[in-house]
């Protein structure tokens, strides 16, 4: 453990620094679009902020946190030093250069294309090249994770890989698979257009390639939360993991089913027929399988802990759980938000029903609840859990940690519930200033103010989070209280090769991707969409 603390802390502080900046921007946006800030800021500033908020939360916070957490897991779960540490630092600095190259054009307003690009709108080439550097940096991390697991398996032939590492490598492999889409779009379509080498762009193909990445990237963000559910929550609650096999199966199901479903982001697009859209809806239904298995397995694990602490009756174990421990509190709050966010997703994937809420605040509420809520609150819990191990210091009191988690939960719920209601009424997305004089929009004003107030609560929570981590750096030295990773009810002795490696699953992913994306992409080779003129934003 001794040689990666600085590496992990460097990644986490970049992640949480970007998170704090983006939280401030998010709150500013809520103010500007509410009746209170009707004349504040110009549309240019607003869309610059939306781009920065999306890039920081979606690309910087996530990628750096996942890389830092991966290095931590590779060292602690495998109990061996990290192979290729020099490469890890090289990947870190390359990603930092990438972030800077992305941030400068955003700040000068020459990349206000939002984090989803929207060709034929084209930003500064530095913006896209910066993102490519961050992705390449994360690819190096993926290779290091795979190499670490392979080395461990050589040294421990036949023994099951620790579940935490198995999940981390599943995440790395999924990330390698999914970045193929955005890399192809950037390298072959968007960057040549941004550099002026091409004057036109095939928008249908660009959107389809981006959709290849657009869904599995949210599972790339989500998997660390699931690793914490399976390998940290049971131990923190004082119980055992109900089933280790289900953990492995969940990560495998995520690998297979999160990749071929990206086109459900294009249900309302004119470049695909509804036959391929129905296949995507059916596959998306199976993406809910790993999540549904997880909520049962983890609730069962918590039930074990609750009953061991004296919980009686059908639900007595809930009250008996140690809710004073941040990890346990975070898992509870995360599951509540996962319920509401999952419900939003169920409606989104409703084939024809997607037309009811596509590109409305319902969708914004969905991904703020699932990513911003249940995943990011687990990022907090993971940070609180491993910070003592990284710094060798202990918390003097857990109260501020719990307060921060509660504030985040309350802020997220109060912000997003009105959005569901406004989304059903047709409130559309990415609006710099609403025309509150319009009778239909006037009714939304009070709810937007409610969401803005919740935004302030979230900002307070974000500030408190960074404060809690900083204070820990200055607290007194303390021995680590208890081991981190959970034991299963039946620790696995031997596990089929299929549940200990990814060879089989990579083949299956190749087959499923060919079946799901083969025809939709081939269609652009057979009959390309008429190209559109590039609209440069400088």
């Amino acid at each position: 453990m001794r040689n990666v603390e600085r590496l992990c802390l460097a990644h986490f502080w970049v992640a949480f620094g970007a998170f704090l900046a983006a939280a401030v921007l998010g709150t500013w946006q809520m103010w500007v679009r509410s009746p209170l800030g009707a004349d504040v800021g110009t549309p240019g500033q607003y869309f610059m902020s939306v781009t920065a908020h999306g890039v920081a939360m979606g690309y910087v916070l996530t990628t750096f946190f996942i890389m830092g957490f991966g290095y931590f897991v590779a060292v602690t779960a495998l109990a061996r030093p990290l192979p290729g540490k020099a490469w890890a630092w090289f990947a870190f600095w390359m990603s930092i250069v990438g972030v800077i190259m992305t941030t400068v054009p955003i700040a000068t307003g020459s990349a206000s294309v939002l984090f989803t690009f929207y060709p034929p709108l084209t930003g500064s080439p530095w913006f896209y090249i910066g993102l490519v550097l961050v992705v390449v940096g994360s690819w190096i991390w993926c290779v290091l994770m795979i190499v670490a697991m392979a080395a461990w398996k050589r040294e421990n032939a036949g023994r099951p890989v620790p579940l935490a590492m198995f999940g981390t490598v599943a995440n790395a492999i999924m990330w390698l698979w999914t970045t193929v889409g955005v890399a192809a779009e950037l390298l072959f379509q968007v960057i040549p257009a941004a550099l002026g080498l091409t004057q036109t762009i095939d928008v249908g193909l660009a959107r389809t390639l981006f959709s290849w990445t657009l869904h599995a990237i949210v599972y790339f963000w989500l998997l660390p939360a699931y690793i914490a559910f399976y390998t940290m929550a049971p131990r923190a609650a004082g119980g055992r993991l109900y089933s280790d096999t289900m953990g492995r199966l969940t990560f495998i199901l995520f690998l297979i089913y999160s990749l071929p479903v990206g086109m459900h982001h294009l249900l309302m697009d004119p470049e695909h027929g509804n036959g391929t859209k129905f296949i995507q809806v059916l596959l998306t239904a199976f993406v809910s399988a790993p999540t549904l298995l997880t909520i049962f397995t983890i609730t069962a694990s918590l039930e074990i802990a609750g009953r061991l602490r004296g919980g009686r009756g059908l639900f007595g174990w809930i009250a008996a759980l140690p809710w004073d421990r941040p990890m346990v509190l975070a898992v509870g709050l995360s599951f509540v938000m996962l319920g509401f966010g999952g419900f939003g997703g169920l409606i989104n994937m409703g084939y024809g029903m997607n037309a009811m809420i596509h590109n409305t605040s319902w969708v914004t509420a969905h991904f703020h609840l699932i990513f911003g809520g249940s995943v990011v609150i687990m990022y907090f819990a993971i940070a609180y859990e491993i910070w003592p191990r990284l710094t060798g210091r202990g918390y003097t009191s857990l109260a501020p940690l719990r307060a921060q988690l509660w504030l985040w939960f309350i802020g997220m719920m109060v912000m997003t519930l009105p959005w569901h209601w406004l989304g059903l009424q047709g409130q559309w997305r990415r609006v710099a200033n609403f025309n509150y004089a319009d009778p239909i929009i006037a009714g939304w004003g009070p709810w937007v103010i409610v969401s803005f107030v919740a935004g302030l609560v979230l900002l307070a929570s974000a500030l408190l989070f960074v404060r809690n981590l900083l204070v820990l750096h200055l607290s007194p030295q303390a021995a680590i209280a208890r081991p981190l990773y959970a034991l299963a009810v039946h620790p696995p002795q031997r596990v089929p090769a299929a549940l200990n490696g990814f060879a089989l699953w990579n083949v299956l992913v190749l087959i499923v991707m060919a079946l799901a994306y083969g025809y939709p992409i081939a269609q652009f080779a057979i009959a390309p969409s008429p190209s559109a003129i590039v609209h440069r934003i400088e």
Binding site: M1, T76, A77, L78, A79, P162, R235, G238, G239, R240, Y242, L292, I295, F296, T299, A300, L302, E303, I304, G306, R307, L308, L314, F315, W317, I318, R325, G339, G342, F343, L346, I347, G350, G352, M353, A355, M356, R389, L424, A479, I480, A481, R482, P483, L484, Y485, A486, L487, V489, P491
Partner: protein
């Protein structure tokens, strides 16, 4: 928080936990029932909500094709 000696590593193989096997066996006789009922009720509620919104909000707004 109950503390034991700082472990060289946190790998699950090396460090047992303070869960007593007999107590675990007793608990395991009833365990997934509470979780099953709670999670099952939650998922059933979600699906009922989905069907309700499908029939009461989506369909009345007019067919779409």
């Amino acid at each position: 928080m109950h503390s034991d000696q700082p472990s060289a590593s946190d790998s699950p193989f090396e460090v047992a936990d303070e869960v007593d096997e007999a107590a675990l066996a007793r608990v395991m006789r009833v365990v997934p029932l509470g979780a099953g009922v709670l999670a099952g009720a939650a998922v059933a509620l979600l699906v009922l909500g989905y069907l309700a919104i499908y029939l009461l909000v989506f369909i009345p707004r007019g067919t779409i094709g």
